[in-house]
């Protein structure tokens, strides 16, 4: 019963047989904020794509809720997918649909809720991320930060138990980024769902204040892990230590 909600075992991932990350093992406990940290190009998005079943690992296994994602049949896969929501790095909102339609889409496809109810639910989700009143906007009519919020709202539309967010605050100005990080930290408290968040920014790590694994491109693996305050003092990996301390001075 006390099973981790996500568990990876010796996961090796890459493209065309060339590994980018090797032997990644970690587990995520239900209800926590789990942060995947690392410089750009180190494979954070790649890891995330594997965790949500969009790519097959070279070797190793992934368990979601104790079920293997790696060799799931289509029924088990559907079962797993129904428990997760994803906000992609670029938002990935459907450009031909309004925000409301974007958020309502999974509800329409997978539930038999009345249209009116779907509308209200979708509106509520948009309000939750601070986009009340933008129902009828198209994604192209929004700023980058707003698009990221909308993607978050869509990811939450089916009330998943795990939310995966790929760089939810990257590419935004510091003020908007901080607001978005605060929002996510707040949502985590309110919703009690498990968050898996990819980021490359130290400020986000401290705002979100979750358990961190830090990936590195050269060693193709996890170079440090723990709570942010612990990592601040942890000198066992010089690169991780330098990252935590140097960038802290700058910010």
């Amino acid at each position: 019963m006390n099973e981790s909600i996500i568990k990876t075992q010796n996961l090796t991932m890459g493209f065309d047989g060339v590994p980018i990350l090797e032997n990644i093992s970690f587990s995520v406990e239900a209800g926590e904020i789990f942060i995947i940290l690392g410089g750009s190009g180190c494979g954070k998005s790649t890891l995330l794509r594997h965790l949500i079943g969009l790519a097959e690992p070279i070797s190793g296994e992934i368990f979601i809720d104790g079920l293997s994602l790696t060799d799931a049949g289509s029924a088990q896969r559907a079962d797993i997918l129904s428990n997760i929501g994803v906000a992609f790095q670029g938002g990935a909102l459907f450009g031909s649909m309004t925000l409301l339609e974007n958020v309502a889409l999974p509800l329409e496809e997978f539930t038999s809720l009345p249209k009116k109810a779907i509308r209200l639910i979708a509106q509520a989700k948009l309000r939750l991320v601070g986009l009340g009143g933008y129902d009828e906007h198209l994604p192209s009519q929004l700023s980058g930060g707003q698009q990221k919020r909308a993607a978050l709202a869509r990811a939450m539309s089916m009330d998943p138990r795990i939310l995966f967010l790929d760089e939810p605050s990257a590419g935004l100005d510091p003020i908007t980024a901080a607001q978005l990080d605060d929002l996510i930290a707040n949502l985590a408290k309110i919703l009690g769902v498990t968050f898996v968040i990819v980021t490359h920014e130290l400020a986000s790590v401290f705002t979100l204040n979750g358990r961190v694994i830090m990936l590195d491109k050269n060693s193709k693996g996890i170079i440090a892990q723990g709570q942010p305050e612990e990592l601040l003092k942890d000198r066992s990996n010089p690169m991780a230590w330098q990252f935590f301390n140097r960038s802290l001075k700058e910010s």
């Binding site: 060339v18 997918l81 670029g90 459907f94 889409l105």
Partner: protein, 381 residues
Amino acid sequence: MGYAKSKSGVSLAKMRISYDKDALRIVLRGRLDNYRAAPVWRKVLKLLAKRHTKPIHIDASGLEYADGSGVALLAYFKEYGQKNDLEVKIENLSQNISSLLDSYTENPPVEAVKQPESLNLIERIGQSSMALAGDAVEQIIFLGRLTLATAKTIFTPRRFRAGDFFRMCELTGANAIGIIALLGFLFGLIMAFSSAMPLRQFGVEVYVADLVAIALARVLGPFITAIIVAGRTGSAFAAELGTMKINNELDALKVMNLDPAVFLVLPRVAATLLMTPLLAIITNVAGLIGSGLVILSLGYSLVTYTSHVQNIISMTDISIGLFKALVFGATIGAVGCFRGMQTKSGAGGVGVATTRAVVTAIIMLVILEGIFSVMLHYLKI
């Protein structure tokens, strides 16, 4: 600042090499910057291309200044030493340059990311045949998915994206009427005119009507229409789906457990399948009007023209043409979506996908036309 001084040519970069019995001695002097380091670099490259067994001692006391190219030169010496297990000593290096050099050597060159090796001719031929075979396999898989999606949708019609379908019909059909009518008209006109001239020598120019009518209905009408649909709509599908793929929208569908084949491909293929025959009718009618004008201008009456057309064309001819258009339409839609979903990331990705959509579609049209001709010949219809 530094450049201004160096440009004026105050001090050149110089290197002197000498061999002792216990070391290879190098003396560096002057300013090693981007402007002056070139000759020194050339010498060094030549020097280190050989294998040395003696330690290398570099005297940098005369080195006034070094920028990126100068520091890289020193780092190159050091790495040479590490690689060949040779002692490389750099003496009397100024504090500035030394700390710059440290930052270079602190970050060792990362292991090169594996890149595909360049291939020789035979390997390249092999690779492109494999790619072609792989492409064929992918097409078959895609076709399988599409069939599955069609089956799924027939059993749960609620799943069909009707809104999308109508939008696509408008795009494919309604919006193309103008260009289709114009091209059909001009085509009929040109065909009639260019065949009327030779036929006139035999006094049988009135048979132009028969010629144009039968050619349009059975072959050219559907074919021209299909080529226009491939250029207008097939490419648009590829671009649209390609952009969606790059924006991760296809991934977003997949993690919602929505099948892109049902969600995106089916409404589009249904639209081209349905619209291409309708457009072919327009092409045919417009073409007949065009050729009619030529006949009238040659002094024949409208009744003569229409009776010729009516006599020569049967319902079978028209049905054959429309059936071809239907198959062409489905093919174009499917190819467009297929190429779109194959899009590779990067700025050029969507462009490549669009081009490939049109080229593949046209090749498929020609192949299909060939198959139809042979089949009709043997079926004698």
